[in-house]
Symmetry: D3
Amino acid sequence: MYSLTVRDHFMIAHSFRGATFGPAQRLHGATYVVDATFRRRELDEDGVVLDIGRASDQLRAILSEFNYRNLDDESTFAGRNTTTEVLAHEIFGRLIHAIHEGRLGEAARGVASLCVTLHESHVAWASYEDDL
Amino acid sequence: MYSLTVRDHFMIAHSFRGATFGPAQRLHGATYVVDATFRRRELDEDGVVLDIGRASDQLRAILSEFNYRNLDDESTFAGRNTTTEVLAHEIFGRLIHAIHEGRLGEAARGVASLCVTLHESHVAWASYEDDL
Amino acid sequence: MYSLTVRDHFMIAHSFRGATFGPAQRLHGATYVVDATFRRRELDEDGVVLDIGRASDQLRAILSEFNYRNLDDESTFAGRNTTTEVLAHEIFGRLIHAIHEGRLGEAARGVASLCVTLHESHVAWASYEDDL
Amino acid sequence: MYSLTVRDHFMIAHSFRGATFGPAQRLHGATYVVDATFRRRELDEDGVVLDIGRASDQLRAILSEFNYRNLDDESTFAGRNTTTEVLAHEIFGRLIHAIHEGRLGEAARGVASLCVTLHESHVAWASYEDDL
Amino acid sequence: MYSLTVRDHFMIAHSFRGATFGPAQRLHGATYVVDATFRRRELDEDGVVLDIGRASDQLRAILSEFNYRNLDDESTFAGRNTTTEVLAHEIFGRLIHAIHEGRLGEAARGVASLCVTLHESHVAWASYEDDL
Amino acid sequence: MYSLTVRDHFMIAHSFRGATFGPAQRLHGATYVVDATFRRRELDEDGVVLDIGRASDQLRAILSEFNYRNLDDESTFAGRNTTTEVLAHEIFGRLIHAIHEGRLGEAARGVASLCVTLHESHVAWASYEDDL
């Protein structure tokens, strides 16, 4: 199995509901450094998992929809905590949608699985991963 | 599949038995930077794999049992080499035990698998991973 | 010249005023990974720049005053943009104050200079540095 | 499952064929930081996945065959793009060959799977992984 | 003294002349991860060393002049080895020129010193630093 | 001012004397990831601060004198705590000695200053720096 990973980041405000979160129930924020890993059994005719330029561009486009925003105001997440895990899942879904729409190129349709990891600090990160 | 990882470290002395280890048969030591990755199919009602605060606290508690010690004197490892691999397995076991005892919270009982990685330098690391 | 650095982090919400900031004028947030570097010409009798345990504890105490907060609501920063540079300067000042109050131990009074660096992502960081 | 990873690097020139590659069709180059991860169900009698010294030496020996070269001139890759993915696969194959020849020691024959990751920058990496 | 650093990268081919370089006399290449650190005594009215967006854009524009090229063919470096040190100096000069031309904004004219660091691998880097 | 940095590591056991050190008074150990930074005003005729191959080799040779040892048994450190700071100073001294003996090449005699940094974990490091 081959994989290709690209990295980018975004910066948001949010708050959490639930006693579990302690002081993180207050409005605060985070920088998320995001790794998107595309896995595929065979390479395309160019010898790549997919076009790394398109992958970087689409990841950036998706992150820009959240970047410099207060996620508490985003209807996408209404009624949900925007935990690192939930955000990884949301970005995963949007990258899958971009693949299905052909925005990552024809080769990307051959991607077998995708893993999205969000690093919230130097000591904590979360990911969502699934087959396509 | 979701995952959540927390990082901490500990510093120990030890020596190895076996010609394979060459100069590492002498008493020496290591800093281990430890990543504990908890995997789970569904998030809990808070939208997390488990309570990251508890995960960090329990990892620290487990590492503190080894921290600043000479592992050659620890009965836990009597007759065994405390290689990076063996230590990863031991910490894995203790985290599983903490989950079973409820020390990582009720949600943590839903964890499907765990991976413990120990970085012994910038150029070498080892891990132990298994389903629960 | 000797130096000792300890690292920790905090997570906040804020917004910026000024056309220069573009979309960062909206309420957003950041994780800041903070490095505090203490420099000193001679080591103390223990052979250290200062007590690393106290340095880590005091850095954490200072960061906890900002952690999980919306800096737009903090009177400390009223009328100022809480840029990475401004935050580095503020934390610098609080660490100097802690040294003067003896909270980093007697040896720390011999510190010649201090540098505080805040990493806001994997591609950007800022610092404030001065002699004591 | 246990794993052991060793890291090294090599520096090469190359060019790509195919409009997808845009300016990377020109002769350029890369530093590849290489991680070789060996996985195994049980440890050997020394308590390791395999001899880390041998693993490091063999990885270095394999990378030295490419290091400081123009891959466009290497017959190994004739007619193929030497993408990060293709190079990960080639190094994977050579490490497997080294295992089969016994160059990583007898214990290494018990390795269940291998993953080779090449980091081409701080924001992109690719890997090839398979069972033995 | 305040500082602000931005990071980017470029990928080139080149060769070195001189027996000192051993196998690096052959045509090979490198990824350079570049850190540009701008230092300034006082912040501007926005509370920053300079506009980070402009700094990132100008660094990228400068690196793009070398990116995906064989530096042996670049007249800029005719008769010189394009070592990491020489490249750091060249990028330093081009950033200074961009500051003087106002491409980093008016505030950037207040920059007191600049340091450009090029990481050629995980185990080696070089820099050039000077006052303006 | 130019600089060149090379990185390597070593792994040792030791203990500290003094109540300040708390549990670190017990025999324990550390991995030190070491950065040696050589600074020089002008490059040599090859366009480098010094021969990076020699610098790496000499750093490795110096670290090998401590690697896989219990520093409590080393006469070099008799009566002293082998803190990260003290070790940085010792390695600094040995690199200066190597420069004076010509082991880093003739060009290295032009080095203006040297900084040695030892990373003891992902959250703490210390250095010693001085002019030659």
